[in-house]
């Protein structure tokens, strides 16, 4: 019983795995389908087919581009379901091919619908930086008006903060400024909603020190800095300023710096020659603001205390020039998307990139500051120090931070840069076509290994040759094209016995005589009496079983039977017959080991 039960289980397992094998080609995304009509179909016929498609499937076929007319290349919007339907429909007869119009992407672009309005993120090269890190594992303290969990912060991670204004644990926002700043740092990104943030896998620590009207005391702010340092913040963002020099504040900043915290502060919005406190303190990185054209924003402070420049925007000419994030309406508390301007908006850009640098492995706050400054795009003609070390560049910063560290990402990038991760390499390069072949060889070896558990036999070269002949042939030879030589001999040598029927003509449709138990059976009957050659026959039977089973699963086109259930059933039955044949031959002719 066990002898019967186990093989059944094994074959069911293999079949299940094969039927669920979808192949690499299915993993791309598409929302349009390409139809390439045959060149010999008259234009009027194409038009009538197109209007029929339009009517039947409620789609609007159109030329792929103005250059596609000659090739009769049309596209329609549609999904996998429509693709399958079209392939089976009448229209398929008139086309050279119907296939998914895969989308190729150079870099990862988030799917947040208003990402296109975030000129500021593109201007700091954020997409290339995201290839390496999104800030995972770091914590950014936002010392501000508090942070409210608006819809576009739902997927963002938070750690406990504190409300120093009302002395309570929960630090929600009643102004809108702090929530906006937190959004620039870590707005939930790739969530199909709203806008993006810079280090969107970093955690936010909300610390409320400014009241609803937007002011707060130096004492509260100094306490918040110490709280952040004591509770594991990696970066502190302070989009606030004013007052004068304060010993309490200086001490708090030095304390946090000593604990390895990177401190970022806004330079101020007075259009004055020198940054405001706290940006002026030596261990705080002072950030000036740029407008959408990359110039100093009209309000930004400059001169002493400005260490770097980042987008702060300008809403003088309208909201498009501002920095867009999700925040609250202070009047109603409702969620809104608001375009703000200010060095307040510039600082969190730098804080976000500081988190990316930290996540890339740079620990010391002085080193992080150096990476920020060295990677910034320097402005050579800057007599008034509008820009500090230059304009923030997230990609260059992360690249500099990871320099000298060989990471898994480098290997991945090498694969990508060399085209190995490009779907084109796999689909058009024909590598996908190799996978079934490899599966056939592996399958035949598995079957042989399995049979050997019950009928111990010796592996020998005739048996091995039989396995290869039956399962896959010397399949790599199929790709050989040598000038002036006919290709068919390579195709024949590159084919297994079940595939031979179509090999000479170059067709991939299986011939039902070759793709059946017939040849292995003939070989077994002929060779069973021969001590050496019978192993070739047995190997062939096992190989053919694997080849037919896999063909049944993935490309079941059989001449005269179509490519549907009938062909699948034919191939599956013959695979089982081959397996049974091999089993029978082994049972009667097994050699002592």
């Amino acid at each position: 019983m066990r002898k019967f039960f186990l093989p059944c289980l094994f074959i069911i397992g293999i079949c299940w795995a094969l039927f669920n094998f979808k192949g690499l080609a299915n993993q791309g995304t598409f929302d349009t389908i390409v139809l390439d009509f045959r060149e010999d179909i008259p234009a009027t016929q194409i038009q009538s087919e197109l209007s029929e498609i339009a009517q039947k499937y409620h789609v609007a076929p159109r030329l792929n581009s103005e250059f596609s007319g000659a090739d009769h290349l049309y596209i329609v919007r549609g999904n996998q379901e429509l693709l399958n339907t079209l392939k089976k429909s009448e229209v398929a007869k008139y086309t050279e091919y119907i296939e998914p119009d895969y989308q190729y992407k150079a870099f990862q672009t988030p799917n947040d619908p208003d990402y296109s309005k975030q000129w500021n993120l593109r201007s700091i090269n954020i997409e290339r930086a995201w290839d390496d890190t999104k800030g995972s594992g770091t914590t950014v303290a936002v010392i501000d008006t508090g942070v409210s969990r608006v819809p576009d912060l739902q997927n963002t991670q938070f750690v406990p903060g504190y409300d120093f204004v009302n002395d309570r644990e929960e630090a929600t926002d009643d102004n809108g400024h702090g929530t906006h700043v937190a959004g620039t740092i870590a707005q939930s990104t790739n969530n199909g909603y709203g806008v993006a943030g810079i280090a969107y896998e970093a955690k936010i620590m909300p610390l409320k020190v400014l009241s609803a009207y937007g002011g707060g005391t130096v004492a509260d702010i100094a306490e918040a800095i110490k709280f952040a340092a004591d509770n594991g913040a990696d970066v502190i963002n302070m989009s606030l300023g004013g007052g004068g020099e304060s010993a309490v504040m200086l001490e708090a900043i030095n304390y946090a710096h000593g604990k390895g915290v990177t401190i970022i502060a806004a330079a101020g919005n007075e259009d004055e020659n020198s940054a405001a406190y706290p940006a002026r303190y030596p261990h705080a990185i002072g950030v000036a603001a740029l407008d959408a054209s990359g110039q100093k924003a009209f309000y930004s402070n400059y001169g002493a205390g400005v260490d770097i420049a980042a987008p702060g925007g300008s809403t003088r000419e309208g909201d498009l020039g501002g920095i867009l994030q999700n925040t609250i309406n202070p009047e109603t508390g409702e969620s809104i998307f608001a375009a703000y301007q200010g060095t307040s908006m510039a600082a969190p850009h730098v804080a976000g990139v500081a988190a990316l640098i930290k996540a890339s492995g740079v620990q010391d706050p002085d080193d992080i500051e150096n990476v920020l400054k060295q990677s910034a795009l320097a402005v050579t003609d800057d007599p008034l120090n509008h820009f500090g070390a230059g304009k923030l560049d997230a990609a260059a910063a992360v690249q500099l931070a990871t320099k000298g560290q060989i990471t898994f990402r480098d290997f991945f990038r090498w694969l990508r840069d060399n085209g190995y991760l490009n779907p084109r390499f796999w689909i058009d390069g024909g590598a996908v076509a190799l996978l079934p072949k490899i599966a056939m060889v592996l399958g035949s070896y598995l079957l042989a290994w399995f049979l050997r558990n019950y009928f111990p036999f010796r592996w020998n070269w005739t048996f091995g040759s039989g396995l290869i002949a039956g399962s896959s042939g010397l399949f790599f030879l199929r790709g050989f094209y040598i000038f002036d030589l006919p290709q068919w001999p390579f195709r024949v040598m590159g084919s297994s016995i079940p595939e031979l029927g179509g090999a000479i003509s170059g067709s991939s449709t299986l011939n039902p005589i070759f793709a059946s138990v017939a040849i292995p059976l003939a070989l077994v009957l002929l060779l069973l009496g021969h001590r050496q050659w019978k192993w070739l026959a047995i190997g062939t039977a096992i190989g053919a079983a694997s080849c037919l089973a896999i063909s049944a699963a993935i490309s079941p086109a059989v001449w005269g039977l179509g490519a549907g259930v009938a062909a699948r059933a034919f191939l599956a039955v013959n695979a089982l017959l081959c397996y049974g044949l091999a089993r029978l031959a082994l049972k009667t002719e097994v050699e002592p080991v």
Binding site: D144, T145, N175, G176, H177, H180, L210, S211, Y213, G214, G215, G216, T217, V218, A219, I221, S239, L240, G241, G242, G243, G244, A266, G268, N269, E270, A276, Y277, P278, Y299, N301, T315, P330, A338, Y340, Q341, G342, T343, S344
Partner: protein
């Protein structure tokens, strides 16, 4: 430190918005919450007496924070 400042009342777009007093030589003061309501009229020219609060920091960062005690409208 009590000061008297002359200038124009303006609404500045930083964060959700802030009231400012801008002098004739373009220096801005941020008006602290709690000032008389009649003061907040954009374009109004005023003479303000009040105190500069050095212990405060703000998100607007447009200049010294002025806590207004009294004001008069000037033409």
């Amino acid at each position: 430190m009590s000061v008297t400042v002359e200038g124009t009342i303006e609404r500045k777009s930083f964060g959700p918005g802030t009231w400012a007093l801008v002098t004739s030589d373009n220096k801005s003061y941020e008006i602290l919450q709690g000032a008389p309501k009649d003061l907040f009229k954009s374009g109004q020219k005023v003479r303000v007496t009040g105190e500069v609060r050095k212990d405060l920091m703000t998100l607007a960062m447009i200049g010294p924070v002025l806590e207004v005690k009294t004001f008069e409208v000037i033409q």
